[in-house]
């Protein structure tokens, strides 16, 4: 077990990684902050539209930033393999593949998510306060907006209240849950492609999506009686009958629950596991 995971060694790898890459990490988060603050300033000052600070729009900004910056940064997590000399440093470091991967995931996934969310929350909080002052009830009244006046609330990632939460409103939790597997794909892509990994990963993901949709529309559906999948679930198939009645073919609900659970929580760890084996088989 000591050969696979040692807490002391893991701490050493984390410390070494931080001291080596702290500047790129800090610059990246600084650029995310500038981009996000810039967007809020742009939407408040240029658009002059108070609706851009609605909870839905705030959540959209959060997820757009999360996906773009998360996938972009994930593509650079294995920059060590971009040259022979750097790959040498990575592979010859006396730590196990699991410890090296844990370190990458710690900074690239966990710390990224926490810091990104904190940056969003702070910039959003400031932007909402500014919006509250800019588009005060008096301003709204003077621009012909009738009561109830638009109220500015911070769409917080920490709130459990669906009206004010980013994560629990509508389908947002699924958006959040989908982020980690997609980001994991970019981490794996960074391990497979030492150059232009982000472009290559995007192409492969689109090809996979295209393949899936082609299989579904050209192979699966033509082989079934004419009908549709239910709107809310992939586990039911509705076949309209000639007499106006519908025939619904559904899987037991536990299958649906297992599939949803796996999609939300198991895909990302499975891809991280693939990363682990990829690190083990890496050579110079």
């Amino acid at each position: 077990m000591q050969e696979v995971l040692s807490f002391k060694r893991l701490i050493n790898v984390l410390g070494k990684n931080w001291y080596e890459y702290r500047k790129p990490y800090l610059l990246f988060f600084l650029s995310v902050t500038i981009f996000m603050a810039g967007w809020f300033i742009f939407s408040l000052v240029v658009f002059r539209n108070q609706m851009h600070m609605s909870p839905g729009d705030q959540a959209a900004i959060y997820f757009m930033g999360l996906y773009v910056s998360g996938c972009l940064s994930a593509s650079f997590l294995f920059q060590d393999f971009s040259s022979k000399a750097r790959a040498f440093n990575f592979l010859s470091l006396p730590a196990s593949a699991l410890e090296k991967l844990c370190c990458i995931l710690f900074y690239g996934v966990l710390i990224f998510f926490i810091v990104y969310t904190a940056i969003y929350f702070l910039t959003d909080w400031v932007a909402v306060k500014i919006a509250g002052n800019l588009y005060s009830p008096e301003w709204q009244q003077s621009h012909g907006i009738t009561q109830p006046y638009f109220r500015f609330n911070v769409a917080s990632p920490f709130s459990l209240n669906a009206d004010r939460s980013i994560f629990y409103a509508g389908d947002n939790f699924d958006l959040l849950a989908a982020f980690f597997p997609i980001q994991a794909c970019f981490v794996l892509g960074a391990l497979y492609f030492s150059k232009n990994s982000i472009v290559k990963t995007v192409i492969i993901l689109f090809l996979l999506l295209f393949l899936f949709l082609t299989l579904e529309t050209r192979v699966l559906f033509p082989s079934m009686p004419w009908g549709t999948t239910s709107v809310k679930s992939f586990s039911a198939y509705i076949i309209p009958g000639a007499d106006g009645n519908e025939l619904i073919v559904a899987h037991p609900s536990w299958i649906r629950n297992v599939v949803i659970f796996a999609a939300r929580f198991l895909i990302a760890p499975a891809i991280w596991l693939a990363c682990y084996f990829r690190i083990k088989e890496k050579q110079i």
Binding site: Q2, E3, S6, R9, N12, G15, K16, Y19, E20, K23, S83, K84, A85, R86, F88, N89, L91, S92, L93, P94, A95, S96, A97, E99, K280, E281, Q283, I284
Partner: protein, 277 residues
């Protein structure tokens, strides 16, 4: 220390060496020589676990290098020809990397740096290539690993630097260690190695200790054309010939590594028969 049996290595379809058999023991500094492209670096990479063999058996300190187990990696240090050091000061580098090497000795590291006239407060990125190499050599020696691999350690060093590196490596050597130095600059290994391994496309063409070589071969400058008849290898020099011949008087003489290398590469079978008979 290192046991290699029928080892075949390559890059995809291109085989670099096939069915290689070699042993490296502790208490010895090996010079690994060969032309460019004969697989010296590939062999060192494979020993360090950075490349996986196509077939054959490789055992380094009872470990299978391809598994890259941490306890194996912390007892081996490899100074490659091409390397990149992180954007840290030397002191930070020591602080964050030495924790991975249990036998690392900070005093020794400081001593080696002093001998190389490098300050521990310097930033690695601000040093020249040669100075960075000296830092890496100092670190590698201070790590006190059982196996130290050096790939072209003198490349990029000035004349004084080459001499310093040789002196420091020799000074840091103990009987518990095994050092393998790969180079195509034969002269740089003089007064450092005590065993020579020469490889070419066909495999190992010479694997002998310098003591054995000195006992069986003699290296001299001759101005008598008659000496050429019984020489194993000769080449013209100013007003005479450099000669490799059988050592008939039994007195051990100074080995000219460059001449030995040329003799081995041009007449591998003859040299082999001399040492195997």
């Amino acid at each position: 220390m290192v046991r290699i049996e029928n080892l075949t290595c390559g890059y995809g379809k291109k085989i670099v060496f096939r069915d290689l058999n070699l042993n490296f023991r502790n208490g010895t500094i090996y010079g690994l020589l060969g032309k460019n492209g004969t697989g010296k670096t590939t062999l060192l990479n494979t020993i360090a676990g950075l490349r996986f063999p196509e077939s054959g058996r490789l055992e380094v300190m009872k470990y299978a290098p391809s598994k890259r187990q941490p306890t194996f990696l912390e007892d081996i240090f490899f100074i490659p020809e091409e390397f990149q050091l992180p954007p840290l000061s030397i002191a930070q580098y020591q602080r964050y990397y030495s924790t991975f090497y249990p036998k690392f000795n900070s005093y020794e590291f400081n001593d080696y740096l002093k001998l190389f006239e490098i300050s521990i407060g310097d930033k690695l990125q601000e040093l020249s290539y040669g100075q960075r190499k000296k830092v890496l050599v100092s670190f590698g020696l201070a790590a006190n690993t059982s196996l130290l691999l050096l790939d072209e350690p003198t490349n990029g060093l000035d004349i004084m630097g080459k001499s310093q590196v040789r002196k420091i490596i020799a000074g840091a050597f103990t009987d518990q260690k095994c050092i393998i130095v790969s180079s195509h600059q034969v002269k740089d290994l003089e007064n450092l190695i005590d065993h020579i391994v020469i490889i070419d496309e066909t495999g190992v063409i010479l694997n002998q200790s310098l003591a054995d070589i000195g006992e069986k071969l003699s290296f001299k400058i001759s101005f008598d054309p008659g000496d050429l008849e019984w020489s194993i290898y000769h080449e013209p020099i100013l007003r005479g010939h450099a000669i490799v011949a059988m050592n008939t008087d039994g007195i051990e003489n100074k080995i000219d590594l460059e001449l030995l290398y040329k003799a081995t590469v041009s007449k591998p079978k003859l040299l082999n028969s001399i040492f195997n008979d």
